[in-house]
């Protein structure tokens, strides 16, 4: 089983972050939330692996509360 990779893995971290914010440009909070939902579903399908997805959900839930 592969573990959830929480080590740095983005090829261009600053570039990705900029693109992420830009994707939400001019959207209302409701539209942004909908975009985020579609994004999560697209990425989740790409990952596929159930254990990794559940680990990511757990991690996200437990961080920053």
């Amino acid at each position: 089983m592969t573990d959830l990779n929480t080590a740095p893995n983005l090829t261009d971290a600053d570039g990705f972050y900029e693109a992420l914010i830009a994707a939400h440009k001019d959207l209302t909070p409701e539209q942004s939330t909908a975009l985020n939902a579609r994004l999560i579903l697209l990425l989740a399908n790409h990952v596929g692996d159930r254990d990794i997805l559940l680990a990511a959900l757990k991690n996200a839930r437990e961080t920053g509360r």
């Binding site: 939330t33 909908a34 939902a37 579609r38 999560i40 579903l41 697209l42 399908n45």
Partner: protein, 538 residues
Amino acid sequence: MADIFEQALYPYRRSADQDAAAPVRHPVIVVGAGPVGLAAALDLTLKDVPVLLLDDNDRVSTGSRAICFAKRTLEIMDRLGCGQPLVDKGVTWNKGKVFFDERKVYEFDLLAEAGHRRPAFINLQQYYFEAVLLERLRELEAEGRPVEIRGRNKVTGVTRDDSGVQLTVETPDGPYSLDADWLIACDGAKSPIRSFMGLDFHGRVFEDNFLIADVKMDADFPTERWFWFDPPFNRGQSALLHKQPDGVWRIDLQLGWDIDREMEMREENVIPRLKAMLGEEAEFSLEWISIYTFQCRRMERFAHGRVLFAGDSAHQVSPFGARGANSGIQDADNLAWKLKLVLDGAAPESLMESYNRERVQAADENILNSTRSTDFITPKSDISRIFRDAVLNLAEDHPFARPLVNSGRLSLPTAYVGSDLSGEDALPGGPERTRPGAPAVDAPVGGGWLLERLGTDFILLGLNTSLPDMPGGDTLPVTVLTIEIEDDRLGALRERYLGRNEQAVYLIRPDQHIAARWPAHDRKAISAALAAATGGMS
């Protein structure tokens, strides 16, 4: 002629039991002549178990109610001798469409595989389903089989002890008492018997209302299941359109929780809703209107001594997925052969505990599936609705999102995985779908079908291998059946039962679930599996 649901098909007649000095004792009393009670009574009657069927009514149900009957139900009805009239009368369908807002986002076809006698589903009004089973019961009665149905016999009290069950029954001529060795309670979601016995019924209530309308019209909609999320004609809610026989269409409209039920039921309010959906110019008449709310819950146990609960009395699901009546029929299917063996002394009474375990497992599977569907169809939080809409938006262009669209996961039979009735799975690389616990999968054999060859006893099936007769002296009837692979017209038998093996031996229960399988005949192993499958006695 009046519609079938307006006729007293089993009118009240005074029974000699009502004049008896002491309560007359019956081996099996079934309470409730709905689909599940009728199926249980038929199954036991065919096994020559004397059955008394009591119903508080004298006719079949009004309204379409459980309209979708699944392939497994039809296969069980074939075993009970009335599958064909159901299929002849029913509307066969395999395809469905899902709409979101004004767009079609997804289409599906349930019949991906050839080589099955019965279709994935038929639509048939519950009153026709009940009428066909009732007619079959009458046929068996006319043949002299030990079955009796008593209309307008309302059970008003139940007590039980170790030796059996005592009932009080109200009739137009007043009350009388009956005793039963076994009582099968198929008396519906509000089960009076469950209340008399003070038994629990826990689960989740869904705070929503659905308007159901049976609409008679000449329309050229295709024979498909159409489901809408958030359509223009029912904003923020869902809708379902389904075809039934006789030009009757079933429409389900979600209304939300905070409504005035009495107002919504009025024709003057229903008609505009339907016109918004079907078009202003649509001409139709209303056959039946109902508003329902639903719950997903089950009894903690389905077997309480010699009282067995089956169907809605034991478990309720949301309607999405057609898992109510279809799972109730499987309860009856699971129960009848076990009760027969117990009554014959061929299995210990504890065998009935396996009914409890296997059907509780099935109920949990059905409740899980229907709860998930309900949460998708009627999101319970803002974020749940946001993800639901995201899935629907993505589904239009992206195949990956389509399996996430959940407008009901349609009823499939439960495989009793891990049941202590299941014996060994000794067939190397045997197909997953026919592993022990699973229902036997149909396949074409010669000019007929595998399932119709199985009959109602335990079956020892030799595929491409001939088997010796079972040794005599057993209390258990086991039918030995050999099928040669040249009878396998489509290669379906090989694919569904052999895998890469050249031959196999299957032990199949009377409810057509697989008990065990081996690569070759092994008398000791077969005896052990048979003992396990009958609760450890034979």
